[in-house]
Amino acid sequence: MNPLILLPFILLGALFTPTVFEIFKRKDKGPKEIPEQTMYEEKPDIDMPLLERAREEARVNVSGEVMRVTGDASIPDETEINNHLVVQGKLKVGKKCHIIGSVKAFGDIEIGEASVVEGHVLSEGTIIIRRDCIIKGIVDSLKDIVLEESAVVEAVSTEKTVKIGSNTKINRRVLSGSSIVTSLQEPQAEVVEKPEENKISPQPQVAVEQPLVPPVVKPVLGVLTPEKPTETTGTSDQIFSHLKERIRKFDETKSSAAEEFSMEDLSPSEAKVFKIALKSSSSEEMCLRLLMDSFEVKDILDGLVKKGFLDETFKPKKPLLEEHVEPAPAETASTKEKTVPSSSDSKKRVRQKEPSAVDSQKSEDPFKECK
């Protein structure tokens, strides 16, 4: 017997060996969980297969309830269509049209003003529903959907953005893969007139935003003198005046530290730099705040160091001053007063009493030159 005759059987045996293992494996008798619901995790796919177009082209001639159009389509105003409408290209529906059926297009869809669609509106492109339209079905798109003013739709679903105009009514859901943008209410005559009727604000609401800038900018620039609060009559005016008052008080508390030093011998620019240096700002920040050249700021800082107002790191020499003040027992009360500058009156008193404290330390007082 030729042994080669066994070769096919060996091949067959090798082929079926895993099968034998699978058939005689130990059976799994545990509970088998069945997923109740599945997740939709697939990425959006916008490309349309070529075959889809081939099929649509082939089906254009089909008669029946679905009216199919090859290429773009435009429906004139006040037209009534009693079929479903499927368009391969773009679709533009005129004003006051009535479509008793659904609308599907592979391009963009625009439904004209005051038109009514009894079914759904489906598109792979952008859908624009003009004002006063009524869509009794779902508006679904792979791109943006725009609902203009006073449009009424059942639901909206898109992969991209939904833009919703004012007075738009969506009866059920809005599903958006990207964002939902609601346009602001346009300023109407009624809105402007209302304050006049109530006599709360003589100006439109937009004018209220003007005093926003000064209270924020001026403290940064280091202007100590508070501005007179602007005359406000509306609620927002009152809020802003309250905020300005608080900022002013905050600046006063900050500036009180600068007032501890006598700056009579300093030039205005040196005084400005020194005041900001008291807030522990860096030289770059000083340049930005004072809108001055960096070299100029550096020169001023060097001058302040030479005059003894600042140390080598451009920090005020306040500890040095305290060191000289503390040994004088007669001046303890005045130093205590100095540490509690709660009001403008107390600040004045501090400034008046400081020289007497300093006089006892004539030899090493760093402020001596200034005086």
Binding site: T38, D45, D47, P49, D140
Partner: protein
């Protein structure tokens, strides 16, 4: 010369199927879904039309309680849902069970056809007369759907061109026997790869008779189910396509079935499918090829779909031709012709390869994508099932040639009733998913 021509034609025929399997497989693996499929998924649960679910049942007392229980648990709004169970001449307690549910749940109705007759298509045609829904869904009595399956199946109907949808069928008793495992593999290949690819390529996904549905107006337009067809689902698919409707496949909409577990049941089921498909081919092939609005792709696909059960017969014929060609009286050893023997073996493997390798590839890939890798080991067993199918198809062709008229009879799966719910709840009604129904006494006990 004649033999050469026959072999060449058969080879080309099998080559067409080979290409089809390859295209389907690679489309599922690398292809993109249609753009509107994303819309359907997104608006599932938003688009909520009135839905009627038809459940034809004939002697299904072991399983019908599970399905009706499941109907009460569906997430679809009950005010937009109606379930109509059609008791088609059952001699067991199926009718009583249906009546009990109908009394307790307002959205469930029970319709009795005491004398039956006409089988499932006739029952469905009677049932649709009582429906009020815009969408008609059908479920077999031995199926167990997902809770949100209605939302998923209904979503494609937002497209006015869609006339029917098909969901996915998954075997839940695959561990029962080698037959149920083979059926599991076939279902995976058939749904995960075939149906999915047809949907992606905008061809014609097939309505499978259950876990699917229709737009009511489309169903009325084609005249409902044809009671003279053995595979009324395939017949309806073709008729809908010939009317210009599209059919969509929703892979996410899963329902679980109890498959056959014995070779005899497997034979009977496949015999009916085979004969019904051949019946549809003889009825519709001419219309499909003549249809002016179908694309070339669709015509080719529908032709291959209708003729798919002729393929195993052709393979069988090809084997016979090969045997006849290569058996020669020379070089015998122990009364076996060595050369002829090897040619015989090689020809079998050649045709099996061309005819079966790519279905194997298709099924194997489906199992792999479904994360059922252990099932891949069973792929060689497909050779046996293919042989059975070849014999089954041959018998069906002979029977169809002898008797053209096919009267539909109920020929449903013999249920053990132990695979309900999550597969571990025991017999229906006694240890069911929510313990609502007691089987034999016909009373609802919560």
């Amino acid at each position: 010369m004649i033999l050469t021509i026959i072999i060449s034609v058969l080879f080309l025929f099998m080559l067409a199927y080979t290409c089809r399997h390859l295209i389907f497989t690679y489309s599922t693996l690398f292809g993109k879904s249609q753009s509107f499929v994303k819309s359907f998924k997104r608006i599932a649960g938003v688009f909520l039309p009135k839905v009627s679910i038809l459940i034809p049942a004939h002697n299904e007392e072991f399983v019908i309680g599970n399905l009706l229980d499941r109907m009460t648990e569906l997430t679809y709004p009950k005010n937009k849902l109606e379930v109509i169970l059609i008791d088609d001449g059952s001699i067991d307690t199926t009718g009583q069970i249906a009546d009990d549910y109908a009394r307790n749940f307002s959205f469930i109705k029970a319709i009795h056809r005491p004398n039956g007759g006409g089988g499932k298509p006739a029952a469905l045609n009677d049932g649709i007369k009582f429906t009020t829904g815009e969408i008609i869904l059908t479920f077999d009595a031995d199926y167990y759907p997902q809770l949100d399956i209605v939302e998923k199946l209904v979503a494609p109907f937002v497209d006015p061109e869609v006339g029917a949808v098909q969901g996915r069928v998954i075997v839940m008793n695959e561990e029962d026997s080698i037959v149920s495992k083979i059926v599991t593999l076939e279902r995976i290949g058939g749904y995960k790869i075939d149906q999915e690819a047809r949907d992606r390529l905008v061809l014609v996904p097939q309505y499978g008779g259950t876990v699917g549905g229709f737009r009511r107006e489309a169903l009325e337009k084609v005249g409902g189910w044809d009671r003279n067809m053995l595979t009324e689902d395939t017949d309806l698919t073709i008729r809908l396509v010939l009317k210009g409707y599209q059919i969509r496949y929703v892979n996410d909409a899963e329902s679980y079935e109890e498959s056959v577990t014995t070779w005899r049941a497997y034979w009977n089921q496949r015999y009916r499918w085979t004969k019904g498909h051949m019946q549809c081919a003889t009825k519709h092939l001419k219309n499909v090829l003549k249809a002016p609005f179908l694309s070339g792709y669709e015509k080719v696909e529908l032709t291959l779909l209708l003729c798919i059960y002729f393929m195993p017969i052709f393979v069988l014929v090809a084997w016979g031709v090969e045997v006849a060609s290569y058996i020669t009286p020379e070089e015998t050893f122990l009364s076996i012709n060595i050369r002829g023997y090897y040619f015989f073996i090689s020809s079998i493997f050649t045709y099996s390869t061309v005819g079966n390798l790519f279905p194997f590839f298709e099924v194997g890939l489906g199992a792999y994508l479904d994360n059922r890798k252990r099932l891949l080991w069973l792929l060689p067993v497909f050779t046996f099932s293919f042989l059975i199918m070849a014999l089954c198809c041959t018998k069906a062709l002979i029977d169809l040639s002898l008797t053209r008229n096919c009267n539909y009879k109920w020929n449903h799966t013999h249920h053990k009733g132990n695979s309900n719910g999550n597969g571990h709840n025991g017999k229906n009604g006694q240890n069911g998913s929510n313990g609502f129904y007691k089987n034999r006494n016909g009373r609802l006990i919560q």
